[in-house]
Amino acid sequence: MTDASTPVPPKSSLYATTDRVKSRNRREARFRAYGFTAIALGIAALILLVISILGNGYNAFRQTYITIPVELTEARLDPAGNRNPAEMARVTTFGYAPLLAQALQQHLQGQGISMEGVTPRDLMAMISQEAPAQVRALVLANPEMVGETVTLEMLAGGRIDGFFKGRVTLESAERDSNVTPAQLLLAERMTEAGMMELRFNWSFITGPDASDQRPEAAGLGIAILGSFYMMLVVLALALPIGVAASIYLEEFAPQNRFTDAIEVNISNLAAVPSIVFGILGLAIFINFAGLPQSAPIVGGLVLTLMTLPTIIIATRASLRAVPPSIRDAALGLGASKMQSVFHHVLPLAAPGILTGTIIGLAQALGETAPLLLIGMVAFVREFPGAPPEGFFDPTSALPVQVYNWTQRADPAFVERASGATIVLLVFLIFMNAMAVILRRRFERRW
């Protein structure tokens, strides 16, 4: 046996990677890294968004209050002396403001806190313009308080509040015509004396909106109520209509042009820009049907039309998931088609329908653009009445309130808008969590 040929050294070996394989592997690793980066970018954007909203907004839930004893002098508040609220109402907020300023000045002197560099006028500016109105409302509700000295809690002015939240500093106060550094220093001394305090602010959640100059008093009460009313309207209309339409399309509809047209329409409506629904609401519900502007009923109707496709798609999916054997069993026992659907299929599909409805409502709750067109941006100070009349009263809505506050000049409203966004997101998280829990709890595999 001889070697017929001397072994040719192989050009490549399975054990050593060639340049070509190396470059292919590098390309593979790079591609993988791109994918990972993309996901990291998406999640980073989410985290940045949440941090930005939380960081800007958590301060809206805290507010600076001034607590001082105030003598409610009879001569000023009830000149007639008969404690009749109707007559006392003639004293406007301008009558109350000097009273509060005086009380503050006296209390400061009594406590031995120096008012160095702060004129009486500046001192008055440290109390929110909203405070006299709140005290007036309190006095009119309790006329017997007149003549006594009561300890009152009042909102501090927006800039003073901003000072405790880090938005206003001594340097920025130099350049600000609305606040002086001396006021801020006095505010610090007042805090040390326990007269001024930064604490949780319920009135941000329950109070009405306030005008441009009073960011410290602006609250979400009307907006939350308006959103709630709209959700009631959406629930009362979209759920029955959506379920009825789904039952027809899934259980009864023959295959023909008419049902095809409905299906195409539903999938198209799901993709129509939301602002177009606003135009529809403006043209038909307000200009044609003559419903009032800014009313929850109009907002609810527009949002109903937007939510219908979501509810219909979810309902049809859960109707389809009910096995045909259930229908057959019902029909076999002599039920009509209608009875088999309403007595058996629908109850079994209910959890899925409920989940879809909650998700649809959550979408509707965050919708803003169509509400702008039907006039919900208007400034509303009055709480709407109880339903059903309340549905026709002007209100605001949570997302529109956010937009509204971003359009105002005072930077304190950025904090308010972010705070309102936090409230909105909490509602959405709550609703979506409920949908997830319902699905987990009642999900049924056949």
Partner: protein, 323 residues
């Protein structure tokens, strides 16, 4: 009130009693009525579409009586003035809309597509179970929140770190601000649609490619993406239609000045911004300045409807290949 109810009840009883007969099938009659109600409910979708189209067409016709259609469609200036003599040209608004949409897609398509590829082809169960819901949370956030994000964070950041050092502008609301934020909003849209489409590509194609010695990335690039391409194009078109119709992000992030410019750090405006602008507040619905919003709305509706139909057509055609 009570009397009315009692009389009605008595009348109902009388009517029911008169109808009772051994051949009368009450169930069938009741069910026919219920079926009619069901049909009525399902026509609401059609009525809504008809309502949208009619309300916009009627008002747009009024607008074109007051303002020449040629100048609306081809005008390059947008200077509304309620005293009359306004220039209401569509082109600057359309340019702003398309520019912002382009930048949004520039952000959303690579990020969304790459995350979909990674989630579908590379990620393990744990990673997928964590990252997919996180990205989908982005889809559940209302657009007003994105708008606020653009206004208070992204806008000032872009202005301070890019626009001003580069000398490109001093405005915090710009095409870039609105485009990037809208891109973030569209990421889950692109990624979940592409994810479905990539998962629908049959495993046999992948196995064939691996069998020939291709690496995973080569398989994705040369086999899966070409097979999934029509579906991905459909997804991108749907995302574009979303971006064109998006309102709150551009209202809060893009600005209100109608300009025809290429500078991405300049404030521009869009069709939706102007619809909101012309229709909010006290408006006189007989002036062309208010009615123009309906013409803008109709334009927007037509564009988005066209894109949606095109996307659905492409996706449907693609699906027929494998099923």
């Amino acid at each position: 009130m009570t009397a009315v109810v009692l009389i009605l009840a008595a009348l109902g009883l009388g009517f029911a009693y008169s109808r009772i007969h051994k051949d009368f099938r009450a169930r069938n009659t009741v069910e026919r009525a219920i079926l009619a109600i069901l049909i009525l409910a399902s026509t609401i979708a059609i009525m809504t579409t008809v309502g949208i189209v009619l309300s916009m067409i009627l008002e747009t016709r009024d607008f074109f009586h007051l303002y020449p259609a040629r100048e609306f469609f081809f005008g390059t200036e947008w200077i509304p003035s309620f005293e009359g003599g306004s220039h209401l040209g569509l082109l600057p608004l359309l340019w702003g809309t398309l520019y912002i949409t382009f930048i949004a897609l520039l952000v959303a398509v690579p990020v969304g597509l790459f995350s979909a590829i990674y989630l579908a082809e590379y990620a393990g169960r744990k990673m997928r179970g964590f990252a997919k819901p996180m990205i989908e949370v982005l889809a559940g956030i209302p657009t007003i929140v994105y708008g606020l994000f653009a206004l208070i964070t992204v806008g000032p950041m872009l202005r301070d770190y890019f626009a001003q050092p580069l000398g490109l502008g001093t405005s915090s609301s710009s095409v870039m601000t609105a485009g990037i934020v809208m891109g973030i909003m569209l990421i889950p849209f692109v990624s979940s649609l592409s994810d479905d489409i990539i998962n629908a590509v049959p495993q046999s194609l992948r196995d064939g490619s691996y069998g020939l010695g291709a690496t995973q990335s080569e398989t994705v690039k040369q086999v899966i993406l070409p097979a999934a391409l029509p579906g991905i194009v459909g997804a991108i078109l749907l995302a574009a239609s979303r971006a064109i119709g998006e309102t709150m992000i551009v209202v809060m992030g893009a600005g209100a000045a109608a300009t025809l410019s290429l500078n991405p750090f300049e404030a521009m405006t869009t069709v939706t911004v102007k619809i909101v602008g012309q229709l909010t507040g006290d408006t006189d619905f007989s002036s062309p300045e208010a009615l123009v919003a309906f013409a803008l709305g109709l334009t927007l509706f037509t564009i988005t409807l066209g894109l949606n139909i095109l996307a659905l057509y492409i996706v449907r055609k693609y699906r027929e290949q494998y099923e």
